[in-house]
């Protein structure tokens, strides 16, 4: 089955916007991390759609790359979240703004 590129890209865009909205509305850092994952996967989907549309393997290569990166990012991110929870006793991101950074 061949999905037209427009639809695939549209789906990716919707997913990306959902992820972004999630990122912006949540204060819970775990939700935010999940939203980032959604955004990453949306980007990956766009790569795959484009790759299949042009019949190139590059899209899939990029997706595998993104997956690997997302895995690494999640592991570091979760470790940071645990540290943050230890320090602030909370997963509210706004509590962690004391460094103004």
């Amino acid at each position: 089955m061949n999905v037209p590129m427009e639809q695939g890209i549209l789906l990716a865009a919707i997913l990306f916007c959902l992820g972004l909205t999630g990122l912006l509305v949540h204060r819970n850092i775990i939700y935010m991390l999940m939203s980032v994952e959604v955004m990453l996967n949306a980007a990956g989907l766009a790569f795959i759609v484009a790759g299949s549309a042009w019949g190139e393997a590059d899209g899939q290569v990029m997706f595998i790359f993104i997956l690997a990166m997302a895995a690494a990012e999640v592991s570091v991110g979760l470790a940071l979240i645990i540290q943050m929870f230890k320090k602030f006793r909370s997963v509210d991101i706004n509590k962690a703004s004391t460094m103004n950074g």
């Binding site: 972004l20 912006l24 949540h26 991101i93 706004n94 962690a96 703004s97 004391t98």
Partner: protein, 626 residues
Amino acid sequence: MKELLWLIVALPFSGALILALAGRKLSRLTCSIIGVGTVSLSAGLTILAGLDFMGNNPTGKPYLQVLWRWIDVGGLSPDIAFHLDAVSLTFIFVITFVGALIHLYSAQFMWKEDGFSRFFTYMNLFIGFMLVLVLADNLLLLYLGWEGVGLCSYLLIGFWYKNPDNGYAARKAFIVTRVGDTALAIGLFILFMTFHSLNIREILNAAPGTWGIGSGIAVAVALLLLGGAVGKSAQLPLQTWLPDAMAGPSPVSALIHAATMVTAGVYLIARTHVLFELAPIVQTTVAVIGAATLLIAGFSALNQHDIKRVLAYSTISQIGYMFLALGVGAWSAAIFHFMIHAFFKALLFLGAGAVIWVLNDEHNMFKMGGLRKKLPVVFWTFLIASGSLAALPLITAGYFSKDKIIWLAYVGDKGSVVLWLAALIGAFITALYTFRMVFLTFFGTTKAEPSARPGTGMVIPMLILAFFSFAAGYIELPENMGHVVLFSGFIEKTLPATATIHLGNSTELVFQLIAGLAAISGLFVAYKYYFNKPYPAAVPERNALQNFFFNGWDFDFVYDKMIVTPIVFLSRIDKDDFVDLFYKGLASLARALNIVLSASQNGRVRWYAMVIAIGAILTLTLIFYP
């Protein structure tokens, strides 16, 4: 002996050096031996060198001693070299001889003061610089001596440094004379630019061929040199520092502010007389300045109550006579009056110093009186010197020197009736204020008892100077009174003779009588108003005009309002440098931007994410819908 010329200069300097390095470890006796000894040796050498110069040198050919090349850059190559001729010989004789006597006097005068060695360091240093000034063969070396004596004057006026008034007077003296010095320096620049040399003889030889009489540049140079001279010699309009300079110890006033340094201006003009002859208008200015100064200072002297300030104004006035003489081209008369003046004015200051010393620092003449019996030696020497200052006819040296100037002010080819009248009125006033001082101090009732008597160390110099104040006049007598021309004959080996209109001996006699009469009537008026008159022992009351005279014709007031106040005001409002405001403004701008931008850096991750999203959307919009 002439080969030892350098030693005459080196001796006082070496004395100063020893005293400066080791003075505080030496006893007072050693200090005074070094101080007095080196200057006395210089004086002895000067007399030997002078005899050698006069004996073996009938034409008066100058003697030049080059020590080393001072600077050698791009055509400017002044040497450290001494030039001995009749004029400089006269000056170094007065400097070392009177200087040695005053040193001797100070050894006792200053004995109880703190900083005894410091005093002799400065005094020796002064003698050294003064000798450099008059012996210099180039103007740059002359300038060295010129500034050096100014420095010593500063140091010695402020010798009692704990009183801020003395410090103020010292600074005033230095700064006011430096104004003149700066004019002199600019004069040197022009001279160097024109002649590519600062050697005095080379300049004097080349100037008449280069500049026409009355040419603009010659006038400018002469005016600038005159600026230097009026500063140093306390003439109009830079005379204001000298009365305040009396804050220094009396021997200092005697040496620096009467006998030697203040006459440096006279020396400078006499030395560079060719330049002044090339600028007749400036030479006339010299005469006018001299005449005006001698009158202004005379009136001020008449209204002082501080004995030293009387003498200070009288010094200004007498130097006015010398300037008048220079202005009418009576070169040798000016030098002659310089020499006689050095003797009697030094003596007057020493006498005044002795009076002040025995009366425990009392300066007010109205609180003195009756000292004639208590201090006979001081009285008689003071009287001789006063007679000389007042130019009492025939019996004093001052008469012969001053009468010559008064006569030449009329009869010299640059003289005039106005100048003669000014000089004559000046003579009357001089006699008046001199004997006012004598009568107030030494006659009448005793108002203060002397606490001590001056010792031999102070008396001997006074006696020697008294002898010279009386006898030195007889080496130069007018044509109708024996016609002795020892002095002018000697000086005229170096300086030109005065061109005069010959009016004959009988006319001269009339003029002499008038001048003598002026002096005697001054004495008489003083006698009438001040002899044995019961003035209260206080500062006398003065009316507005007298106050005006007392304050030196309010020159200080005007300078203060015109120059000092604006400068101080400017300094006060711009202490922190308005240029810095610009850079401070830049810094504030950076800080303001920092505040604005750092507000966006609030640490809220979601805020950042939103900004990124909005930024991305905006960028994309701009890319796709430009």
